[in-house]
């Protein structure tokens, strides 16, 4: 009885807290990394080397005046940030941090819900996340944020197709939709899937950049300069929720990339016994390290690349990524049958 309810509840509590804290500190990470790339120091005043800056930001945002546009749809206006944030958070339910860890004598798998359609769950939750943007644009009761919101969601939907096809390529190779099953398949195949399907990883990463509205696909966010982005009317904590949702999505995409292509919690060369010394580092630490590397790459790309124009962005998604993704899927399927 305890096991069925208490353990998942505890896992949820721990994970939610961890995610919310890391999402808050990701703002600091981004500012620091971009600053160091740009020959600056970043936040330095609050706390040692600026490490308490996110706390100051959170306090500021919480204390800001909560402005709701007069003629906006109140219900939808309040709903939009929630609909943005919640899917980002519940996507963590299927991400496996390790196969098993021992806590107080209990062996617990470090994943909240190892459903046998875990990957499909992730994809469907991502498609729910699109609503946040559409509703935010609508709730602002103004032409330009609405169009901007619709455009941003069109971008998300387009790149979802390429991402889903890449996830399917990996599923074809592994033969299972469950996230832990995918890591096991990589263990059994003795190779990380990134070496077998490099194109799939690249397309997944690019699609992940577009899905999370990150540079070079962040025109909806930069659009504020021109026609008013979808979150123009938001202030204070609601505004923060949109960006925290973006960071949470980034962590999800990084976690998925780490799980699907880089072996999840497996150490490098998991089947090579000679590297037994690496076993001392627990699996979840490997997973977090890999996720962190991807997050760093996300931020690095933002600091480096210019941004795409909207039509170029859509052209890339539809005319380049989707044909490549289809080709990859077909070749994977054919080779899987033949070999």
């Amino acid at each position: 009885m305890t096991h069925t309810y208490l353990v998942p509840l505890l896992k949820i509590l721990v994970l939610l807290n961890a995610v919310l804290v890391s999402v808050t500190f990701m703002t600091l990470l981004e500012r620091k990394v971009i600053a160091w790339v740009q020959v600056r120091l970043g936040p330095m005043r609050v706390g040692p080397y600026g490490s308490l800056q996110p706390i100051a930001d959170a306090i500021k945002l919480l204390l800001k005046e909560d402005i709701t546009p007069v003629r906006a749809d109140r219900f939808v206006f309040t709903l939009a940030p929630i609909v943005s944030m919640v899917p980002a958070l519940i996507a963590f339910a299927v991400i496996p941090f390790d196969r098993e860890a021992t806590f107080f004598g209990y062996q617990v798998p470090l994943v909240i819900a190892d459903v046998n359609v875990g990957l499909l769950y992730l994809v469907s939750i991502t498609s729910i996340g699109v609503y946040g943007i559409i509703l935010a644009g609508y709730a602002s009761n103004s032409k330009f944020p609405l169009l901007s919101g619709l455009r941003a969601s069109a971008q998300l939907i387009s790149y979802e197709i390429a991402i889903t096809m890449m996830l399917v390529s990996v599923v074809v190779m592994a033969g299972t939709l469950s996230m832990t099953g995918l890591v096991d398949a990589q263990y059994n195949a003795r190779v990380w899937y990134v070496f077998v399907q490099p194109l799939a990883f690249v397309i997944l990463f690019i699609g992940g950049l577009a899905e999370t509205n990150r540079a070079p696909f962040d025109l909806p966010e930069a659009e504020q300069e021109l026609t008013g982005g979808y979150h123009t009317e938001y202030s204070g904590m609601r505004f923060a929720l949109f960006f925290l949702a973006e960071y949470a999505n980034m962590i999800v995409v990084s976690g998925v990339a780490a799980t699907l292509f880089f072996g999840g919690w497996l150490r490098p060369f998991p089947n090579v016994a000679a590297l037994w010394i690496l076993d001392y580092i627990p699996g979840w630490m490997w997973f977090l390290l890999k996720t962190f590397v991807f997050l760093y790459v996300f931020i690095w790309i933002r600091a480096t690349l210019p941004r795409y124009r909207y039509d170029q962005l859509m052209r890339l998604g539809w005319k380049v990524l989707i044909p490549l993704a289809i080709a990859n899927l077909v070749v994977t399927a054919v080779l899987k049958v033949l070999l």
Partner: protein, 170 residues
Amino acid sequence: MLESLVFYTLAALIIGFGVLVVTTRNPVHCVLCLVANFLCVAMIFVLLAAEFLAMIQILVYAGGIVVLYLFVVMLVNLRRPPDARMDGRRQTRFGFVLVALLLTEVSAILVYSAAHPSSLVAVAPQRPAVGNAETIGMLLYTDYLVPFELASMLLLVAMVGAIVLARKEA
């Protein structure tokens, strides 16, 4: 016991949201209630141990089709004209008659099946031996291959039609 509780809650939510879809004035709220409806239906699928179907329900219905509804609603900016009630084309009485007929039919079926329980026993949903996706895949590609291919042709035709319609006369 917990299952029944969850089931009845979900059923109430589904019916509630369904009613809201029809009765809400604001078209965007209608669509949002529809989404909530679909999400609850997906949860019922999970209850029936059909997780794959639940995820597909969310992915395709709630995440794809209703998003398109939302696009259309927002772009077309529907507003109910104030004299819609007076629209001469509305056949309210005929509508009531039809609904009454339908309800009679449904209750007749229910009463009949309650009075004559069928030989089929309701089985508690079990987790299939093979995963959901595999089972569906097997069925789709062996027993139901022709309908599957027809459905995909239909989708292809719809896609091509949409592209043709959307293209400007260049």
